[in-house]
Symmetry: C2
Subunit: 465 residues, 2 copies
């Protein structure tokens, strides 16, 4: 039979615009593909910018007036011609031939040429957002940031763990969880072992939830692999429309064994945050400028002028005193027991003029798994990491490493028995943090709403596509 | 206030074993940390291997007999001493001082020294799997493979898209989906807009599911960004215990615009599969050998001897003839309308002696979104990519790019109206594939069950932690 099998040789696709800009093979014939962004008529010629989303730069086509009917805003085309350079050094294609791949009727298409739209309007058609240049800049930035973080942590010796989405634990104990069950009633019937089980207990023999944090799972891995992290989606069933909350959002969580104190966690965050931000700015400042091109107040140097400065570290008590001394500036309540509101967080970062850590929190305000301070059992070794514009972008702690103290603070829930085991068999002190990846990107790009830094935002009453 | 704030200098953590092996600073004092793997007594000395999970290599400690009580299997220790070399060039530490960080009582600890365990046994205690050397080798390999894939696609110009976990679409239409709703009855009550809505329709105004594939979302992004991919968890509510199925598994999905035919998809898969596999073998063959050390039949050269050969391409009809001619070798049914069983897939890869593509499938066996062949409307431009041991590791197709044909094949379900829009406004031909990341890793590492290539496996009646 095998002799009947065709051996294929594979011809290469035509190059993307990114490849054309990179290789700059002037005075060579070229075939380019993309979507029509602009059309300008000048004397005997038509000028059209196309883009294929692989780069933020548009490519200018110089066409004959007779091609007018083929150059429709939003349509996809293939153009052949000679790659040349304008007197100002800008690439352009002197077009011989244009082929329309897919036209773009104006009826019900949400965009028209030379018009800018609000993020809210663009968000109404999630499936067509990739036709919007500023959205595509954001997506490429999200991709670059994710790539920089993964490679930074790889080089620092951290091992990526795919922590589970489905879990029977509720890490934060907040109760704002989504529950999961098979959609098929038939399947539930077939799989049922026990008549008294609720439908949602049948598939996994118990109720399962969408993860709110991979931290506890990371801890189990850190107790054998030492340096681990995860970067993936986490979920909250919150009735919120805020500019910094989503039902499905991305979190970078990191856990490190054999640490000694909160200083180790502060050092890890500081080094990562500065190194990753610097590399991101080196690679993506063009895109940041494109995203902010209509904002005249935007100044990229000013925004990141903290890069070479030392971050501030304040105890909760110190931070609270600063807030108390400025009480009249806040709409939100100023109360030692209430913690620090978003508005107050942002005030603190402006006050310090650099990103800052708030450490040593009253234990009542933090989770059960955080370690008590040796000299003060009412304080836990926890931190919030605050940055301008978004406030808290990360929270971390040294984890309670004492079996008896941890047991006393835990609920008697059997589903977390395994977590106590980690302090029983070859226990080590671990610490780590969770950082909101989307909020970090919001800050880097100066994008107001978290809904506009993720391709498919989900929040209360909204799950399009 | 600011003058009260402490400025901290950060001392560095002690090095990981990976760093010690890499820098090899002989005859220098060193402090090492890890878990005790073995203890051997010889004359006046004790030899102990420790490991911290950052590398597959254990580090040998040479200790005094008086340290015996501190060297307990499974416990975590810190040892100080001089880093030296054995006559055979192996690193070891001549220990001055040992400190026990966390001891390891034998009571209820699932492992004892010098014993190997079945994967099923190790799986019983997911939270302690990171104490098992072969499991840690797998985790490091999973990390390396993920990193190689992301960087390969980055360099090839593909943009990573975080496709959503929560979706109102069921891409494959198989119905084997998990449904999601808030766990809190209180929240549902507060959020209810419409008395007739079911509980599961309240949070998102309609029923939401866990994604079974990000393909359709990727297509919407490819229609503006050209080259996109996603690598993340996907879900199936299947009542299966098989060695290649999980309820939560990882899929690499890729979509490319401006393609012409299935050959483009074949070329993309072939180039990626060969390049990534080669780089993985270059970086991780030591780990593969460690994982297979008790398997005397394992031959790494033989396993990957297809690397320099051309992959086979068979049409479905050609593949079926081969199967039909060998009918007596199968337990599963041989029927043109039934497709190709797992057993038959693996037979085909053995028959071809290389990974192979099966293309041009009868349309009844494939999804609605696959493009009809020009010369035969009963055949769709789809492919299965088969590799030894696991069979199908990827499936792909050219997507139907004709508005009317696609509309005729789609259900009238309003939730996919947006998908038709992609063929209306600036339509392009796209194609792509989905590859089972865990199955690929199974094949690379020669690990029998998919449950042992993922840190927290979830399947029917199993969701531990």
């Amino acid at each position: 039979m095998l002799r009947h099998i065709i051996s294929r040789s594979f011809s290469s696709n035509s190059p993307t615009l990114k490849e054309i800009f990179r290789s700059r093979q002037l005075n060579q014939p070229v075939k380019v593909k993309g979507w029509v962004k602009t059309i300008r008529s000048m004397k005997e010629l038509l000028f059209s910018d196309i883009n294929d989303g692989t780069t933020g730069e548009n490519l200018q086509l110089v066409c004959d007036k007779s091609d007018k009917s083929k150059l429709i805003f939003g349509s996809s085309i293939e153009a052949s011609g000679m790659l040349t350079e304008t007197p100002k050094g800008q690439l352009e294609v002197k077009v011989d031939n244009i082929k329309v791949i897919g036209d773009c009727p104006t009826e019900n298409y949400p965009y028209v040429a030379r018009t800018s739209y609000s993020p809210e309007y663009i968000r109404e058609n999630l499936h067509l957002r990739s036709r919007v240049s500023s959205f595509n800049s954001m997506i490429r930035c999200r991709h670059v940031l994710s790539n920089i973080i993964h490679n930074y942590l790889f080089n620092e010796g951290f091992i990526q763990i795919h922590t589970p989405i489905l879990t029977v634990n509720d890490c934060e104990g907040g109760g704002e969880v989504f529950m999961v069950k098979p959609d098929s009633e038939e399947l539930i019937k077939v799989m049922r072992k026990n008549e008294t089980d609720k439908n949602e207990e049948v598939f996994f023999d118990r109720k399962a939830f969408l993860t709110v944090s991979g931290q506890l799972h990371l801890e189990s891995m850190a107790h054998g692999l030492t340096k681990v992290y995860t970067l993936g989606p986490t979920f909250r069933a919150e009735n919120s429309k805020s500019a910094i909350h989503l039902s499905e959002f991305y979190m970078l969580e990191l856990e490190e064994s054999f640490i000694e104190s909160l200083d180790d966690v502060i050092r890890t965050i500081t080094k990562m945050f500065k190194t990753v931000t610097k590399e991101f700015l080196d690679k993506s400042s063009d895109e940041i400028m494109r995203i902010n091109k209509s904002n005249k107040d935007f100044n990229i140097e000013e925004r990141f002028n903290w890069m070479d400065k030392e971050f501030q570290v304040l105890t909760y008590d110190e931070a609270f005193k600063i807030i108390k001394n400025n009480e009249n500036k806040f709409k939100t309540v100023v109360d030692y027991k209430e913690g620090i509101s978003k508005e107050q967080e942002i005030f603190l970062t402006n006050y310090c003029k650099v990103p800052c850590f708030v450490i040593d929190w009253p234990k009542e305000q933090k989770s059960f798994y955080m370690r008590q301070k040796k000299d003060n059992p009412n304080i836990v070794e926890a931190l919030d990491f605050l940055i301008p514009q978004v406030g808290e972008v990360a929270g971390g702690s040294v984890r309670e490493d004492n079996y008896d103290r941890l047991k006393a603070k835990m609920s008697t829930d059997e589903s977390l028995r395994w977590y106590l085991d980690l302090r029983k068999y070859g226990s080590v002190t671990t610490g780590g943090f969770g950082m909101g990846f989307d909020r970090y990107l919001q800050y880097l790009l100066n994008i107001h709403s978290i809904k506009d830094v993720i391709p498919f935002p989900r929040w209360a009453h909204n799950c399009s596509m």
